[in-house]
Symmetry: C2
Subunit: 519 residues, 2 copies
C-alpha cells in the first residue's frame, strides 16, 4: 500500500525543504506524494483488518524515546506510517466498517479540509478573514434550507448557524447560554438549583456539558425510557419529572431531545416535548448528530417536525454527511443568548467592522477564540455532490441497512431488537433451546425460538461480536438497551457497497455457526 | 493563481466521482489538482493584499441563495475559490503578514493534517484507533523533553500530555478539573466562592473559561500590571489579592500565568508565582501559547523556570511551531484530576482495553468525545525538521524581529514601547513637536522627541496602522498597554525572509511620512 511511490523516491532529497518550511515547490513535491499515498490507501483499505489488532503499548516499543535532532525525509516517514501507524489504525474508511456511527469521508470533504488547512487562517472574527465568516453564514443558511428548518433558525430570520467541532461543544455552548440567561433573571447564587433533562438514551455529551457548566450533578435527569415508546422520551414522563423538580424548589433549565440516539437511533418526539418544555420556559436543544443528515430527504423530514418550537438544533456533518471530522452544524434562534454568555472583547481584537455591528464574530458563538475555516469543506461537499446526490448517497445507506435487516429476519436464529429507522440495524443471536429446563423456564421470541434469560443471550452475543471483530473481516459495535445486549450494524462508510453488506452478513452467520457449536 | 491547472481541465468529467463519494481514482485526480492549486497559492501569495479589502456582506452578493441541486465540478469550484474566496481572505501565510500572532504553516504540518483527514478516524478512546492515542502520548513526551519539562509532566512520570484544539479549551479543562477537585472538598454549593486569578494582560481565554465553568463573574481577578514590571504579574500583588479574597470568605482556586502575553509578549515570573500559589493550594496553569515554542532553544528556556511547581502547562503548536491550526499541547501533572472532572462511561463505548486500565482514553482529558488524529501533524513536524531545524527557524524569526527593532531605533521619530523578548516588536510613531505649547506641556521620550499627551500619540498611531494595512503591503495589528496604543510587529509567518522585514519597515516609514505631513 503506497509502497510503490515511497520506494521509488526513498533516499532522495533528504535535506530538501529545510531552508523554508513552506517552500512552494517542496510543498508540491511532497503533496503529490501524499495524495498518491492516500489514494492507494483507499484503493487497498479493505485488505486490512478493520479493527486494529495491536496490543496496548505496541507503538512505544517501535518508536524512539525522543524526537530526532536532524531532519528525516518524507519518504522515510511514509514508510513508517505504513509499517508503524497503519497496523494501529481501526479503518473507519473501510467498506467493511459498520461500528459506532460512520465517519463518512469524501473527496469533496477532504479537498475542503485541504483548502482550509492550506489557507490556515485563524478566523476568530470577521476581520481576521472575512471569507471564512461569510461563507460559514451562507452555507449554514443553505443547509438549514435543505433541512427545511424554520426561518427563525436562519440569518434571514434573525437566528443563525455556526460550525462547531462536535456536538459536545454545541451542547456546552447552548447550555451555557441558557444557564446565563436564567441566572441573569434569578441570580447567580442559584446555579445549584438549575436542572438539566435528557433520557437514559441521551448521548453522554449532555452529562459532560452539564458537568463542565457547573450544573450540580444531582440535578441531571436521565428520564427512563421504555421499549413501548421505542426508547424515546415520553412527554408525560418529562412533565412529571419537571413538576417534581419545581415542587422541590429547583429550576428547570434545559432539555436535550435526541433524533437518532447512539444506542438504537431512537427518536424523541420533538413537537410534543417542545410543548411541555415551553410551558416552563426550558431551553430545548435538538441533538440530531447522527440522523439529522437524513432529514434532507423528504421522507425523513417528519422526524424533526416541531423543531420550530425548539431553541437550537445540531447535527454532525462529519458523521453521515461526507464532511470529514470535525464539523458539527449548530443553529440557534437567539444568537444574542450565545453571544452574551460567550463573548469577550480584548483590545487587541478591536476593529472597525466589529464596531459597525454589521458583521458576525464567530468567536462569540463558541468556546474557543481560534477557529478553522470549516465551512470550506461543507461548501465543497454541498457543491460537489448537490442535493440530488447527497440524498442518493444517504438513501443507498438506508437501503443497505434494510437489506441487512432482511437477512437477519430470514435467519430464525437471530432477531431484530429495535425497529430499523435510519441506516443502523440492531440485532442479536438467540441462544439455542438446548434443554427441556430452558424450554420450561424460558420464553418464546417472535421467531418461535426459546431462550432462558437475557444474561445468557447477552453473553452469547458478546462472544459473537468479539469473534466477528477479532477476525478483522468486518467491524461492528454493541450497546445494551432495556437490558438487552445487541449488535449495532451501522451502514454509512462511504466506500461500502451492497457486496460488503452481503459479506458482513455471511461473516456474522459463520461466526454464529462456530459459536453456537460450542455454546 | 492556480488558473493554469484549473483552466486546463475545466469542463471535463463533471459527473465523475458521483458514483461513490470516496472513489480512490477520483480522489487521486482531484487531490493532485488541489496540491497544484495550493502550491501555486504559496508561490503567488505575496502578490495579494495581505489584509482582505472586502466590505461586510461581499460574499452573499456573489453566491446563490441555496445549495445546488445538481453536482458541480471541482474545476468550477476552484475557479470560484479563486474569484470569490481569495479576495475575502486575510493571508496569514503571506510573508508580509506580521499581525496578531503567526499561524505558521509548513509542508510537514500540512501533510500531517492530510494523513489525519485521510484516515479520518474518530479517536475518542484507545480502542477506536490505538495508533491515534499512542502516537499522541509519545509525541507529547517527545515535545515535553524538548522543552525540558519536569518528568512529572510526562507519562513516564505519571503526568502526561494531550492535544487540545486551542488554549481556550486547555484552560477550560484544567479549570474544570481544579474546580471539581476543590468542590469535592468544600461542597458543590460553594461554587460561587471560587476565585480565578490572572492579570490585565492575561488572554481573554481565561475569562471565557471562567464564565463557562460557572465561576461567579465578580470572582474573576485581573490583577493590574505595570510598566515597571514589564507588564508581568507581581508575586506580591498576587499574594495581597489572594489574602483579600480569603479575608472576604472566598476560596482561591486557579491562577493562569502567562509566558508571552498577546499584547506585548510579557512574561509572568513562573517560579515566584508558583511559590505564592502553592501556599494556598491554588492550581497554577502556565499559558505559553505563543512563546512556549521558543523554549526548545536553550537561551529561552529560563522563561519557564519554576514550571516544576505548576500544575499544568500549554503551548499552541499552531501558532509558532509550524503545526497548522488547531494544535494546542497541554501537559498536566495529575491526569486523574482531569479524568474525574471530564470522564463519561456510556455502554456503547465499553471495551476490554479500557477495562484493563492499560490504556489512555483521551476523551476523558478534553471537552469533546470525538477527536481528530492531531498528533500526526506534530509527529511529522518534529521528524521532518528535527530539533536542529526547528530551533533554526525560531531563531531566524527572533533575529528578524531584532533587525526590525534596530530599524525602529535608528529612526528618531519612532520608539520601542516595551522590550522585545521573542519575535514581536511593539513600537509607535511619536507625534511631532509641532508647537511651543506642546514642547511646554509635553514630555521627552528616550530619543529626545517631545510629544504632548498619549491621546494625540494614540490617534497618530491608529491612523498610521490603518494606512499601512489599507495599502495591503503588510499587515500588523495593535494593542494598548499602560494607556499606550502601539503597533505589534509579530514575525513568524513561515515564508517571511529578511527582505520582507526590510520592505515592511520601508512601508512603515513611507506611511509615517505621509501621515506626519498632514498631522
Amino acid at each position: 500500500m503506497g509502497s510503490l511511490h515511497v520506494e521509488n523516491l526513498a533516499g532522495n532529497n533528504i535535506s530538501k525543504g529545510v531552508e523554508n518550511p513552506l517552500d512552494p515547490e517542496e510543498f508540491r513535491r511532497q503533496g503529490h506524494m501524499m495524495i498518491d499515498f492516500l489514494a492507494d490507501y483507499y484503493r487497498d483499505v479493505e485488505k486490512y483488518p478493520v479493527r486494529s489488532q495491536v496490543e496496548p503499548g505496541y507503538l512505544r516499543k517501535e518508536l524512539p524515546d525522543s524526537a530526532p535532532y536532524n531532519p528525516e525525509s518524507i519518504e522515510t516517514i511514509l514508510e513508517d506510517v505504513h509499517k508503524q501507524i497503519i497496523p494501529g489504525l481501526t479503518h473507519w474508511q473501510s467498506p467493511n466498517y459498520f461500528a459506532y456511527f460512520p465517519s463518512s469521508g469524501s473527496v469533496a470533504g477532504f479537498l475542503g479540509e485541504m483548502l482550509s488547512t492550506g489557507f490556515n487562517v485563524v478566523g476568530f472574527n470577521w476581520m481576521s478573514s472575512p471569507a471564512a465568516t461569510e461563507l460559514e453564514s451562507i452555507v449554514m443558511d443553505w443547509l438549514g434550507k435543505m433541512l427545511q428548518l424554520p426561518k427563525s433558525f436562519l440569518f434571514s430570520g434573525n437566528g443563525g448557524g455556526v460550525l462547531q467541532g462536535t456536538t459536545c461543544e454545541a451542547i456546552l455552548c447552548t447550555l451555557t447560554a441558557a444557564r446565563d440567561r436564567m441566572l441573569n433573571k434569578i441570580g447567580r447564587e442559584n446555579i445549584c438549583k438549575l436542572v438539566v433533562y435528557g433520557t437514559d438514551q441521551t448521548h453522554c455529551a449532555l452529562q459532560k456539558a452539564a458537568q463542565i457548566a457547573g450544573i450540580h450533578p444531582k440535578n441531571f435527569r436521565a428520564v427512563p425510557t421504555t421499549k413501548s415508546n421505542n426508547y424515546g422520551l415520553s412527554p408525560d414522563a418529562l412533565r412529571s419529572t419537571i413538576l417534581a423538580d419545581i415542587e422541590a424548589g429547583l429550576v428547570p433549565l434545559f432539555l436535550c431531545a435526541t433524533v437518532g440516539t447512539t444506542s438504537s437511533t431512537a427518536v424523541d418526539p420533538i413537537g410534543p416535548l417542545c410543548e411541555v418544555a415551553n410551558d416552563y420556559s426550558i431551553w430545548v436543544h435538538v441533538d440530531a448528530a447522527y440522523a439529522g443528515s437524513a432529514c434532507i430527504c423528504p421522507e425523513f423530514r417528519h422526524f424533526i417536525d416541531g423543531v420550530e418550537n425548539a431553541d437550537s438544533f445540531s447535527l454532525n456533518a462529519h458523521k453521515w454527511f461526507f464532511t470529514t471530522l470535525d464539523c458539527c452544524c449548530l443553529w440557534v434562534k437567539e444568537p444574542s443568548a450565545l453571544i452574551k454568555a460567550l463573548s469577550t472583547n480584548p483590545e487587541y481584537l478591536k476593529n472597525k467592522a466589529t464596531e459597525s455591528q454589521q458583521v458576525v464574530d464567530y468567536k462569540d458563538w463558541q468556546i474557543a477564540l481560534s477557529r478553522r475555516f470549516r465551512s470550506m469543506k461543507l461548501w465543497l461537499v454541498l457543491r460537489s455532490y448537490g442535493v440530488a446526490n447527497l440524498r442518493k448517497f444517504l438513501r443507498s445507506h438506508v437501503k443497505m441497512a434494510k437489506n441487512f435487516e432482511g437477512f437477519v429476519n430470514l435467519d430464525k436464529r437471530f432477531e431484530i431488537v429495535v425497529p430499523t429507522t435510519f441506516a443502523m440495524v440492531c440485532f442479536r443471536l438467540l441462544p439455542p433451546a438446548a434443554s427441556p429446563l430452558i424450554k420450561t423456564n424460558g420464553y418464546q421470541n417472535g421467531n418461535g425460538v426459546y431462550h432462558k434469560d437475557e444474561t445468557r443471550a447477552n453473553e452469547l452475543n458478546r462472544r459473537l461480536l468479539e469473534s466477528i471483530n477479532a477476525s478483522g473481516s468486518a467491524y461492528m459495535t454493541h450497546s445494551v438497551v432495556g437490558g438487552v445486549y445487541m449488535i449495532r450494524f451501522a451502514v454509512g462508510a462511504s466506500l461500502s457497497e451492497d457486496r460488503h453488506v452481503i459479506l458482513a452478513w455471511k461473516v456474522v452467520q459463520e461466526h454464529a455457526d462456530a459459536i453456537l457449536a460450542t455454546f
